[in-house]
Symmetry: C2
Subunit: 445 residues, 2 copies
């Protein structure tokens, strides 16, 4: 197997054993990027020398017998809205191309403490919002990888690095993961500190990760979680041990629920894929129509996102007319049209949604949900796709996991989304591993 294609878990084990160096792995990733990125455009900032220096430092720690982190020596892509002290952080905006933070964001601190190599900064849509980036889908350059974490999703799909981080306010992790055929996980609200990441919505913003295996996704997330007094969403309760959850066995076969949610407007491909999953799970899945409140949650997400966005970015040149496209201008106008009362009502929906789901997962291990309406949009459509399949869960602060299980038109990937209970991220990974095994064709005897 070529080095760049190694899973994070395998590469970390080899680095630990001394059969692989971080320098060699990083070089392999850099070569893969050099070969494929001209066609993809996943990178906002990449400096081979800086990456290799970090890899050398991680190899040196190993040779000196110093402690090794859970991600020791692994190259990680970082969405360009996370501050990095030694790399610029342009927020995807032409207004900020020269922006150089003084210190690392909390998520980058965690990556470094886990021994990761910060490979570079991946392309984000402008201000992590709706304007499409120029990044192309590695499966077919006519398609978008989605957004806003475009470069992280596309880079993982293209084998640029085993792990990457992104952020989600609507569906910016789970949706591009679906379009790009990779794993994407947004943990329970408050598990990963957002300090030093661009704040677009204090209510909805959250940090998530991308990988090419479920186990790698768990490994990455565990390295990122932790209390931080600087993030008001952070809490001091114990964090889920997600890798432990991944490796554990469900005491009984998990119970799933599939909710028919009006407004999702799934493509035929996706509808058929979801039917197939439900059929395969048989009695393990119950189907219900969604309660009417779900439509309110979907609307509340947009209200909160746009209202808070224009206030967080108030006065920032990045939202000046000369720096925004029509898609972003429409969202800004939407935010300007939201009254304080309407915003207040939307915020109440957050508590309602949290309360609705508080007991929900006593009866079910996970909600089955499409991770996108269908395959990725064509670049010519000038959209990053619709986040409708994520909005309810993001609003409710639930953990959401994209599993790259489907393919649709033109053999383009699509994802299944699993939704779990708050702070039950570890259980969700246990369920996901069971589900993947249940859905995969039996090994030939």
């Amino acid at each position: 197997m070529t080095l760049w294609a190694l899973s994070a878990t395998d590469a970390a084990a080899q680095i630990r054993e001394g059969t692989l160096s971080s320098v060699d792995l990083t070089k392999a990733c850099l070569a893969r990027i050099e070969e494929t990125d001209p066609q993809i455009g996943a990178w906002a900032y990449l400096n081979s020398e800086q990456a290799l220096e970090q890899a050398e430092a991680m190899d040196a720690l190993r040779k000196q017998g110093k402690p090794l982190g859970a991600l020791h020596g692994l190259p990680v892509g970082v969405k360009d809205i996370f501050d990095t002290a030694e790399m610029p952080t342009a927020l995807g905006s032409p207004a900020h191309t020269a922006r150089q933070p003084a210190s690392d964001s909390a998520a980058v601190e965690k990556l470094r403490e886990a021994g990761a190599v910060i490979l570079g900064k991946t392309v984000t849509t402008a201000l992590a919002f709706v304007s499409p980036s120029a990044t192309k889908n590695p499966h077919n350059p006519d398609y978008s990888p989605g957004g806003s974490s475009a470069g992280s999703a596309a880079g993982i799909a293209a084998g640029h690095m085993p792990l990457a981080i992104g952020s989600q306010t609507g569906g910016s992790v789970n949706r591009p993961a679906s379009y790009s055929g990779v794993y994407g996980f947004k943990p329970t609200r408050g598990q990963i500190s957002r300090r030093g990441a661009l704040q677009t919505s204090q209510t909805l913003d959250c940090v998530g990760g991308f990988a090419r295996t479920l186990e790698d996704t768990a490994l990455l997330t565990d390295a990122l979680t932790g209390y931080d007094a600087a993030d008001p969403a952070s809490h001091m309760r114990p964090k889920p041990l997600i890798l432990e959850g991944y490796h554990s066995e469900p005491p009984v076969d998990p119970a799933f629920i599939y909710l028919d949610i009006p407004g999702f407007n799934l493509t035929g491909d996706m509808s058929a894929a979801m039917e197939e999953v439900c059929d395969a799970l048989g009695q393990q899945v119950e189907r219900f129509p969604a309660p009417d409140s779900f439509q309110h949650y979907i609307a509340a997400q947009l209200t909160i996102h746009t209202y808070e966005f224009i206030r967080n970015l108030d006065g920032d040149p990045a939202i000046a007319p000369e720096n925004t496209d029509d898609v972003l201008k429409r969202m800004i106008a939407h935010g300007q049209g939201v009254s304080d009362d309407a915003y207040g009502e939307a915020v109440v929906r957050v508590a309602q949604a949290e309360s609705y789901f508080a007991e929900f997962f006593n009866d079910y291990d996970a909600i089955l949900c499409p991770a996108s309406q269908g395959i990725a949009p064509l670049l010519s459509e000038n959209t990053t796709g619709d986040a409708v399949c994520q909005k309810i869960w993001t609003l409710a602060g639930l953990p959401t996991l994209t599993l790259p299980l489907f393919s649709g038109e033109n053999n383009m990937p699509m994802g299944l989304q699993l939704v779990g209970g708050q702070e039950e991220d570890a259980r969700l990974f246990r369920t996901a591993r069971w589900l993947e095994a249940a859905l995969s064709p039996a090994d030939p005897a």
Copy 2:
């Protein structure tokens, strides 16, 4: 076994399995305190109701299937120099009896995130320095438990709680552990954030822990380590996995070194105990006279400590004459007598010591050293004992572990101290476990 005597490891396992509740364990600890603390005086602040509320919350998380921390439901004593948002933090000074911090210190945050119950605040000597507290040694009330982490060491020895935290600037963790017959561990400089703990010396202050078993000491320390940008000594390199080190086997029998250090002035009891250990280890231990530089390190520790102490406490009523005893007054006077030049020279010794020990542990797994000159001082001697056996290692930022292996005059406990290389805390615990097994009498066949 009575509940209060359970090890942290065993209690945590039982709480995890549901065979023990945090409430029952906390009640058992509170009852033990009620029974024995009138004779000991280990507590600066204790509120049963507050402790039991936390225990109930930890039990509730378990019942709800929420994540459990590594210290889930375990009562932990916190030296009264660590800020606590819900408990006063009096710094051992009559000037600060009503001091109520607004937020938790970093170490307390870590304990809470690990699921611990903050049982209360343990007695510290005034400003974590030299004035003896009224705390009595649980082994014999005529003796001191040492200081400055008097209540944490005494409380662990008396079975008030399975785990406690303290701090060390000279020898304030390892020495009281020696006198009190418990494990005490001060990790490598920079592993545990000092944010929110009383700063007496930015160069020397560090956080450490106490327990009644080696494994518990490892468990506690792992829960406390982590990067914090707010502490200048903190670093983003991966942290040692100390419990993993404890559970690992040395590839070959460890090599020890015993250094004859002039000025230690050991009692006959301690000299004999160290000889016995060296004899038992035979060829596994080499003996050398210490280099002359060690005397400079011992002197530099006092210079830095007193110089920085009076500047950190400048203007604080706690060092006003009416709030200090003669012992502290002498230290203040000493600090006032240190010139800027003398301080500058002492700070250079820190780098020299770090450099001296940087390669040292290529040849040895650990330095064998007494954890105190002998048994605890009598209360009537009006001293917390001499930190001379710790000063060199504290200056050099090395991890130091007290093992309660000896007993001296009047059957009072004394400790063996193991010193390891910087960031080799995990290896030190591996070595310590090997050593304990090597020194314990063989099981009767």
